[in-house]
Amino acid sequence: MPLLNKIPAELNRLIGDSLSVGEDMADLLFACKTDLAPDGRMEDSMLVVTRRHLVVATRSDGKWSLTHTLSLADIAGLTVEPLVGASALMATVDGRESRLLRYTHAVAQDMSDAVESLLHLIGPDGSPDHTEPVAEEPVPDWSSREAHLRTFRRLWSFCLPHWRTLVIAMLVTVAASAIDLLPPYLTMILVDQVLVDQSMFIWLPLIVALLAVSRIVHTGVTIISGRMMAVLGDRLAYDARSELLNVLQLLPLKYYDMQQTGGLMARIARDAKSIHYFWIDFAPQVVQQGLLVIGMTAVLFYLNWELALLVLIPIPAIIYASFHIKRYLMWFYGRSWDSWATFFERVNDALAGIRVVKIFAQEKRQSLEMQLENEKVFTAERNIHIRSRTVRPLLAFIVSVGGLLVWWYGGQQVQSTEMTTGMLMAFFLYLAMFYSPVQQLTSMADWIPEMMTAITRTFEVIDSPIEEYTPDGTVDVPRFEGRLELQDVNFGYVAHQPVLKGINLHVEPGEMIGLVGHSGAGKSTLIKLMCRFYDVDGGRIMIDGTDVRRMDLTQLRSQIGYVEQDPFLFSGSVADNIRFGNQDASREAIIEAAINANAHEFIVKLPDGYDTPVGERGGRLSGGERQRVAIARAILHDPRILILDEPTSALDLETEKKIQEALGRLMEGRTTLAIAHRLSTLRDADRLLVLKNGEPVELGTHEELLDRQGEYYRLVQLHTNVSSIVGVEG
């Protein structure tokens, strides 16, 4: 992710001055702030990269200065040297390595992203690489506090298609607030003119009727606005969820490498819901309560400004108290949340591992440990409730002070006939309505950060860059022949830590290549590159002479089949899983594929045959059965290139044989890359590529490599008894 940290104005000017003619800061690609000065002081430094230059600047005594200005064309190589507690960025210029800057682990991730982008820029041979643009759209940083404003704008953009409903609902809300102001005023007239003065006694039924009508209208209007906002909120939450679900399928695999599935689930379920709360609870409440406070203040001042001023006296105390009480309680809520989380984790663990618990006869201890967590939850909950039950009456007391002041001063005015009894009553009625919105608005102020954080998290996912499915200049490859070529392929999950180095391989259509090596040798990574879950850092992967990066991703992947080591099945029926890659497949085709995968027989013996639900992740099937369903799925998918990650787990001989047969049929006529563990697969492979520490060390047939007595020979010796293999072959 290219970074665009803010460049201080002074530094901006400095860099602008030092750049060559024809380039200015508009050519800025990215800037990454780091945290160490060259002499090791904790001081801001900055790596700034423009289209043609790399600039390193550092701050000393509050002043910025440039330490390095290099032309990208001159940089022959860039490396990150891991130090202890820090790292250093090194550049090779004119055959000499120089230290550009040092930084701590706190900024290591940002720097790693920056270096990755830089490496793309200078290309593998050191020259600026113009074939691969790196200036991706800067991804908006949703995490900062200032981003809240942007979040509001995004919220509004979600609402825009429904603006009519929103405007009507808001108008109705305003009407409800206005109607709310009417009853106390009518009460004043009722008391003064009708009950005390009796001059307008005839008006009694009319005023009571008006009071009744205002209540009825208010109720109706509240229902209408409530319902409208609720539907709107639900619709917006639905829209947000839809967009999220859509994006989640399109995000590149490397996104998921860095995220926990649980966290993403929470975003879909909970965070997207906060958009609903914003529009249902927050926005209308702010509008309605805000209008009430303004309207009532105006009316109170209109009726009696001196008394109105007295009413306002407790307001600062109420605001202060509400604000701080919420903060104070929040701490306890946090504690409670934590204790619940640990409690659930503990219980979940104990239940998921119930078999282990019973086998080791640890029921009592488990129960005791859970009890301990239960006690923590009890304490946390008790702390909240004791405090909230203390604080609320105190708040009510502050509110009542306002009432006492009105009694005291208003009573005097009534006595001296400066004010009527009716007006005093109206004051009390307004007063009762006045403090509650003030309290509500205050506590809402505290919701904002919490809600905004949730909404922001939702947008963070929605705005993550998705995979580029149809890159510019896409070459149409409707059906592969299956010729594979890996040319000098280099790759690392973190840019400066290569996992694969200099892989060269040419595979003819229909050929089967076995990938061999210790765990961590790079076999799985190579397979991920073939599926284009990641892109190579250097070199290229070609299919039928076309670089995979120039292919439509859907077209590419639809012709690649992948059978995982432990295949993932989706909950649904066996038939649903087999037709996963080919939704239009007929039942005949499904059965045919299952027969070829040696799965048909066990499937039809299940009580519900192909209609049998496989359970979550295929848990109701055995390992061997899952394997064969996955093979049937791959057969039906009919890929031109097959990627196979052979299971390491030992199965019974019968199942093993069936799977081998099935795989044999699956591989027939297809170019196959297989991570092989089984002797039979190794022997059947046309050639074997042996990897060691990400580098290719041997390539040849099983026999050739055994004869060579090199790395492969040692690997086979490690895994099995080599003499028996030779015996089998002989």
């Binding site: 029926s573 038939a575 039942r587 005949e588 059965i591 045919e592 027969i595 048909h600 027989e601 499937i603 039809v604 013996k605 009580p607 519900d608 045959g609 192909y610 209609d611």
Partner: protein
């Protein structure tokens, strides 16, 4: 081709013995007949197993077999897949953790004990419901809309 030609598949049955299958002249005694898609495609895809439960073959469209073979297939399936069809829901009562469902089926009245009502009910397709009771017995409502109003209401609350 993995499917058997219906023209060469013949079944015979004597009294209440499991049927004998002939595939292009080869005889297999005591065969078992199973459906490949017992829930989603009952009328097609019938598989045959021999006495030892070894797989023999599959016929895509059994109605293309000769009449008596087709009849035997239907009977065998009826025999193997016991799934009474519910015609009316009489009552539903909760009793402790278990609910008891009194229903009328095409096989007679029955009380269905269910520990978890929602878990035991699966909507196979809109309006078609499969009920599995706590003993693993199965019942089917082929079309919810064909039940009376009260039965419909009782079931709808649960799915």
């Amino acid at each position: 081709m993995s499917f058997l030609d219906p023209a060469v598949v013949h079944l015979e049955r004597r009294d209440d013995q499991p049927p004998t299958l002939s595939i292009a002249g080869d005889l297999f005694f005591g065969v078992k007949i199973r459906q490949a898609f017992p829930l989603s495609q009952e009328s097609r895809y019938v598989t045959f197993f021999d006495q030892e439960d070894e797989y023999l073959g599959i016929v895509a469209d059994p109605s293309s077999c000769d009449e008596s073979t087709f009849r035997i297939i239907r009977d065998e399936i009826e025999w193997r897949y016991f799934r009474p069809r519910i015609t009316r829901v009489v009552e539903m009562e909760g009793r402790g953790g278990t609910s008891l469902f009194s229903v009328e089926t095409d096989r007679g009245e029955v009380k269905i004990p269910m520990r978890d009502l929602r878990e035991g009910m699966t909507e196979l397709s809109p309006g078609r419901i499969l009920i599995t009771d706590e003993n693993g017995n199965r019942y089917e409502i082929p079309d919810l809309d064909l039940l009376d109003r009260r039965s419909r209401r009782l079931i709808r609350r649960l799915i």
